[in-house]
């Protein structure tokens, strides 16, 4: 099977440097792309039906085609690569940036060309120090080789690229928070519409895409939309990086056809549960997705199929819950994270999440009351999308919602026994 994302990545050695990358076929896609019109690339990406790998699953081609093109577009235009990967349990972009930084840079150049961007920013999570080093080197080498700067490879296209290391907040990775953070402002979300493609960084048209999303673009350019689409098991195109963490036999990350079933990933790649542990449930796509249980093992891990389960594909990085870990404690841990990472802009998120955290903490300490469960359940509706300003809080209540659905008994036991039954 072809692995357009990870073909150059070997866990046992340093990433390819630019010469090796070129020898492995790197930067050929850029040469091909520059022979095409930007609109042609947009069209190919649209046909490939790649949905955004950052978690929201917005069709990339659709996003790019909304960017104002031609002479009338307000300039400069920007491309922002969202590399602020900070969702608990998610480590897929890290693999790409540390494992094949040149691919990320080449992808960013092609993507920028597709929307005629003048400047590209890679907005990187503060803690990804190694990725920062390797990307810095890859960008510098791309400049040396003429892949960046004025008149790239003799074409009329010019692009400047900067690595911007974030201040280290989850909200900086939210598309609009990212735009504000780039401008040196508080990373609060922005009102949409106008969308970033119209009013983005410095008020100018900006496309924001996830690292994994753009990393698919060179393959689409060099192999065509049909070939990309054929990589998957479903109508959504391409491969996907799936990760598994938790008490499984082989925690890890694999590039697999999009739409591989949950069970296949869990059993065949992660090797099932470690001896002595029973499977209880999992979060399929990072901390802001709802729990799934054994009956969902046949579900395909793509955006459309996952939505039907009541959860989401999210980032496609699975967190497994076992029978010796307290589900209340797990949800408490996640809500602590979300409450801490709320930007404080809108009331439901700023005030609601700490309240949830306090109630979960009380339940976990054995100080919970049954009314807490009602309030927790209420919040899964109150903090829905549209009720809050951005998607952080709706994401934050997804695991809670799932836990209340599948592990309610655990919550009740905590309250009834005035202690956490998982602790001795």
């Amino acid at each position: 099977m072809e692995k357009p994302l990870t073909q150059n990545i070997r866990p046992d050695r340093e990433p390819l440097d630019i010469r090796e990358y070129e020898q492995a076929g790197g930067y050929q896609a850029l040469r091909q792309a520059l022979q095409m019109s930007p609109l042609k690339i947009q069209e190919m990406v649209t046909d490939a039906y790649i949905r955004g790998r950052g978690g929201a699953g917005f069709p990339t081609g659709k996003k790019w085609s909304a960017v104002p093109m031609g002479d009338k577009a307000r300039r400069p235009k920007f491309f922002a690569i969202n590399a602020d990967e900070m969702e608990p349990g998610t480590f897929k972009d890290r693999l790409l940036m540390e494992g094949d930084p040149n691919l990320v840079v080449e992808s960013a150049i092609i993507a920028s060309y597709a929307i005629e961007a003048d400047v590209a920013y890679i907005f990187l999570r503060w803690a990804y120090k190694l990725a920062a080093q390797r990307l810095t080197k890859a960008i510098a080498q791309a400049y040396e080789k003429g892949y960046l700067g004025w008149n790239i490879l003799g074409s009329s296209y010019s692009l400047e690229m900067y690595l911007h290391t974030s201040a280290g907040r989850y909200m900086c990775g939210e598309e609009n928070g990212l735009l504000n953070a780039m401008e040196g402002k508080r990373p609060i979300p922005r009102t949409r519409p106008p969308h970033a493609v119209m009013v983005g960084i410095w008020g100018k048209p900006t496309a924001v895409n996830n690292v994994e999303t753009i990393a698919c673009v060179p393959y689409i350019v060099s192999h065509g939309s049909a070939a990309f689409k054929a990589l998957s098991h479903t109508e959504e195109g391409g491969t996907k990086l799936y990760g598994v963490s938790g008490r499984v036999k082989r925690p890890g990350i694999w590039e697999l056809p999009l739409g591989t079933t949950l069970g296949e990933i869990f059993h065949d790649y992660a090797g099932g549960m470690r001896d002595g542990y029973q499977f209880r449930g999992l979060l399929p796509g990072g901390a802001s997705t709802s729990f799934l249980v054994e009956k969902h093992f046949d579900a395909r891990m793509d955006f459309g199929s996952m939505d039907k389960t009541g959860s989401r594909l999210g980032t496609g990085t699975i967190i497994v819950l076992d029978d010796k870990t307290c589900p209340v404690g797990m949800v408490l841990n996640l809500e602590q994270f979300f409450a801490r990472e709320s930007c404080g802009w809108c009331t439901p998120c700023r005030e609601g999440l700490p309240w949830l955290r306090d109630m979960l903490d009380a339940i976990e300490r054995g100080a919970g009351i049954l009314e807490d469960l009602e309030i927790l359940q209420e919040h899964t509706w109150l903090l829905q999308l549209g009720h809050t300003f951005c998607a952080l809080a709706p994401g934050a209540v997804m695991p809670l919602d799932g836990a209340l659905k599948y592990f309610r008994e655990d919550f009740e036991n905590h309250i009834r026994q005035h202690r956490c039954p998982y602790r001795h």
Binding site: V199, R340, S342, G344, T347, W355, T388, F389
Partner: protein, 902 residues
């Protein structure tokens, strides 16, 4: 007009509004926090949730924030939908999780928007049992208290302070549910608009520190509509009094004037009313020169005798006294003996300004129009310090053109954050030409600092570029010519250009240049406006009345023997040289002064009569726009204090000129004024006359919740006293009367059922943020000549040339310190700078003087020892001396002086 459906009923609304704005305008109650009628929507608080339905068949609907949703034609919503009601109730519960519930000890209690909204949502009981978050509060200066624990994080404060008012030392700090609003460290808030936080904050985080010193609940304050006396803009205010003292000033919405805002001088300058320097009883000077208190009758008899015996009586009017008091004085002394209480140069400038407004073709701009201008050119005026609320308006004007240029992005004008993100820093055009740097410089497209002559030349050059019939400027330097081209280009392109000038830089040519620019623009664009700043609250009223300048009074006094000088509400030492003032006061055989405060002039008077301040008087001021605005007594004058016009009426009787005082009531003097001077005819219509009644009742100055009516005087007499009579207005010093909405000029407070906070103003407007019901108060007295012939001013000054060894001393201004009355308030005095002289580094080098080094400069024949401030923005050859600061004796006319190092 789009039709929206609320609970299935159709309503027509104005196009382009958001649902919250539309529904509030329709009279529905939807709770809100982060939305503000002047600052619009950001969607942060999520309190204004309603149910939105796709069409008439949609029964499920979805929750949307009404402030973030356009009221499109056919929009169907429900405010009463149970889910929406529940969501709003929980939203209050969230906000209340950490709120201290300290209403009984909170200054905001009783006029708290959070209280009102909590009641409105039906939230009564918090289901949380966890610890509250607590904060450390900051010292923010003399005007504001800070109690962050009460904060509900609506972000209004920071949006006003930074986004609307351009402040830079106030921030959103911290994160998640610890978000904090304050400064990086304790210290005085630098913005002159900080006091608005008291009204912007929906709860008690920011409260009036001066009120806290003599605290009274809102419902216990006796209030009346009033006009700010601290500059010429005529901002509408609501002062509140209790136990005979003034306790605070609040904004009184007037859509044409100050809208929702006041500056801190206007809000906190009121304490002069309670000052120990107040004159409360008549004073007579004995034979040995010592002042003694006298009874009213004694004083009147004696002064009457003096006036009768004097062969010549001259009166000096006042630009800070009401139109009526000035008119009364004019009646007492006769028009030929009526002098304006300002020096020759200022009188000339003011007459020139009035001439431009009266005889020129360009209408004067209201503050509302200034805020909607899309290109502004300021000549000579330090707007932030001489007309602060105009600065706020100009700041808003810089958003107009950029908003127009991004129309293709289809961002609704109320979508504030989105609009600002799209505009970013591309603001303006706003061009400033001033003698030194001002607070607006950072927001200006270009800020040009030059001598007054050069400012005038730039203006003339711009006018010439706009209309070749306007005179050209010979010998203009290339960079100035380029700047003129840039300014002319932007003004010509604008849809609503505005020219701002005034009398403060002390040079008539600047005013004429500004007039030329406005005239030239008017020929191309009839939406052109001109705004001329003036120094005093009634400068225009006095100027329109007309009279000679005070300088010439001295000649008149000398010419004849046995003279009496009657000075109305002014300290001559602020307008004249010390020597001139001494001369004037010594030459007159008798000096009678009517004023509310002791000052140098009252100290030299033979007779002093206690005049009421604005707070104890009814009268009319004419603001810089030419708008006559009525103010009403907030508290009855105590003891022998009364309005100057009443005193003068009684003097007319006492001196035998009339058989009895000619004016028993305010309406009588207004009637006389209008008869004598028809230009003031609209003054009579500025507010209803005293016999006006609503449903047969007066408008009460006290709220229906006013407490202690029977107890306040119990220490004196247990019988409830008769409320003081008010023959001058339809208002009553009582809690009894008409409780519904009075005409806009008589609104004593904003209150509506369920709306106890200042947000109740929504209920008084025809459409929220629009005009008050029945029209905004005030009547314009000056309209331009409809078909007036445009005559350009042609006297172009020579370019400024430096003189070896001399500096041209020009006036500077400070919002805190330059104004006579407000500096008697402790907070204003605290923020007033020490006197100084500002010079360019180059000139400082020539003088061999360092920062704070002392120099001696003779101004108005008085030696001034002033520390030097080295200011690169002061053009070489100029020196700036701040006006009005204690210790500075100067009338502000530019003058060449030698600075001596001491």
């Amino acid at each position: 007009m789009p039709t929206i459906y609320v609970e299935g009923q159709p309503y027509e609304v104005s196009p382009g509004l958001n649902l919250l704005h539309a529904c509030l305008s329709l009279g529905f109650n939807i709770p809100y926090f982060c939305w503000h009628p002047a600052m619009h929507s950001v969607g942060a608080c999520r309190q204004c949730a309603v149910k939105l339905f796709k069409d008439e068949n949609d029964t499920k609907g979805k929750i949307v924030m009404s402030c973030m949703t356009l009221a499109r034609d056919g929009t169907r919503i429900s405010i009463a939908d149970p889910q929406a009601v529940w969501f709003r109730k929980v939203a209050i519960e969230w906000l209340m999780l950490n709120h201290p519930h300290d209403c009984p000890v909170c200054d905001e209690g009783g006029e708290c928007h959070l209280q009102d909204m909590t009641e409105m949502c039906g939230h009564v009981y918090r289901r949380t049992r966890f610890k509250k978050r607590t904060y450390r509060n900051q010292y923010l200066g003399p005007f504001l208290t800070h109690e962050m624990n009460r904060c509900i994080q609506c972000y209004r404060c920071v949006r006003f302070y930074r986004g609307y008012a351009g402040g830079r030392d106030f921030h959103t700090l911290a994160w998640h549910n610890s978000v904090y609003f304050g400064r990086h460290q304790d210290g005085v808030l630098q913005s002159k608009f900080s006091g608005n936080l008291v009204e912007v904050c929906p709860t008690g985080v920011f409260d009036d520190k001066t009120l806290a010193r003599h605290y009274v609940r809102k419902w216990d304050l006796q209030t009346a509509p009033s006009i700010c006396v601290h500059c010429a803009l005529g901002c509408n205010t609501i002062p509140g009094a209790r136990y005979g003292t003034l306790r605070r000033i609040r904004n009184r919405y007037n859509g044409d004037v100050n809208s929702y805002w006041l500056c801190d001088r206007g809000r906190y300058g009121y304490e002069f009313v309670n000052s120990p320097q107040r004159i409360r009883r008549p004073l007579l000077r004995n034979g040995d020169g010592r002042p003694t208190l006298a009874a009213k009758e004694t004083a009147l008899t004696q002064i009457g005798g003096v006036l009768r015996e004097s062969r010549h009586v001259i009166g000096i009017g006042s630009a800070r006294a009401s139109l009526e008091s000035n008119f009364a004085l004019r009646c007492l002394v006769g028009p030929e003996n009526f002098y304006l209480g300002t020096c020759r140069a200022e009188v000339q400038l003011l007459s020139a300004a009035i001439d431009v407004l009266r005889n020129g073709p360009v209408p004067s701009a209201s503050l509302h129009e200034a805020a909607w201008a899309d290109a502004v050119f300021v000549l000579g005026e330090d707007v932030p310090n001489v007309a602060p609320v105009l600065e706020l308006a100009l700041r808003q004007s810089t958003l107009r053109k950029p908003s127009d240029t991004i129309q293709d992005l289809h961002i609704e004008p109320w979508n504030d954050a989105a609009l600002r993100e799209a505009i970013q820093t591309e603001k303006g055009p706003l061009f400033l030409a001033t003698t030194y740097s001002t607070d607006l410089d950072a927001s200006a497209t270009q800020a040009y600092h030059a001598a007054p002559q050069d400012i005038a030349r730039l203006g003339f050059a711009v006018a010439n570029l706009l209309d070749a019939n306007a005179p050209s400027v010979p010998g203009l330097l290339a960079p100035i010519a380029a700047l003129a081209r840039q300014i002319a280009g932007q003004l010509a392109e604008a849809r609503r250009p505005l020219v701002v000038a005034g009398v403060h830089c002390g040079m008539g040519a600047v005013l004429q240049a500004a007039a030329n620019v406005a005239y030239a623009l008017q020929r191309k664009n009839e939406n052109t406006r001109i705004c001329l700043a003036a120094p005093w609250c009634n400068s225009l009223g006095l100027g329109m009345m007309g009279g000679k300048c005070v300088d010439s009074a001295i000649d008149a006094l000398r010419a004849r023997g046995s003279t009496t000088l009657v000075v109305l509400e002014s300290d001559l030492y602020r307008h004249l040289d010390v020597a001139e003032a001494n001369n004037l006061l010594n030459t007159a055989n008798h000096v009678v002064v009517l004023d509310s405060l002791r000052h140098k002039t009252t100290d030299k008077a033979d007779f002093v009569l206690p005049a009421g301040t604005f707070a104890e008087s009814t009268g009319t001021f004419v603001n810089n726009e030419g708008r006559a605005q009525r103010f009403f007594a907030v508290l009855p004058p105590a003891g022998e204090v009364q309005e100057s016009w009443r005193w003068i009426g009684e003097l007319l009787a006492a001196s035998g000129q009339r058989s009895s005082a000619p004016w028993q009531t305010f309406d009588e003097i207004v009637e006389d004024l209008v008869r004598a001077m028809p230009a003031f005819a609209p003054v009579a219509r500025a507010a209803p006359s005293a016999d006006f009644r609503m449903a047969g009742q007066r408008i009460p100055r006290q709220s229906h919740r006013y407490s202690g009516r029977t107890a306040i005087h119990a220490a004196v007499n247990v019988h409830e006293p008769q409320p003081p009579a008010d023959p001058d207005s339809p208002l009553a010093f009582s809690m009894e009367g008409y409780l519904n909405q009075p005409p806009s000029s008589l609104i004593p407070r904003f209150w509506a059922p369920q709306w106890n906070s200042v947000q109740a103003v929504n209920k008084f407007q025809e459409e929220v943020a629009g005009v008050l019901r029945g029209g905004n108060p005030g009547k314009r007295l000056i309209e331009p000549q409809a078909d007036g012939q445009v005559e350009y001013f042609t006297e172009i000054p020579e370019a400024f040339e430096r003189r070896e060894g001399y500096l041209l001393v020009v006036p500077g201004y400070h919002v805190f310190g330059s104004e006579e009355l407000s500096i008697l308030s402790s907070g204003v005095a605290e923020l007033a700078p020490m006197p100084y002289i500002a010079v360019n580094p180059e000139d400082a080098g020539k003088l061999i003087v360092r920062e704070n080094g002392l120099v001696d400069v003779a101004l108005s024949t008085t030696s001034h020892y002033l520390p030097v401030r080295i200011a690169p923005a002061v053009p070489p050859g100029l020196a700036v001396v701040p006006m009005g600061l204690p210790g500075i004796q100067w009338n502000g006319q530019p003058v060449w002086k030698k600075l001596l190092r001491t």
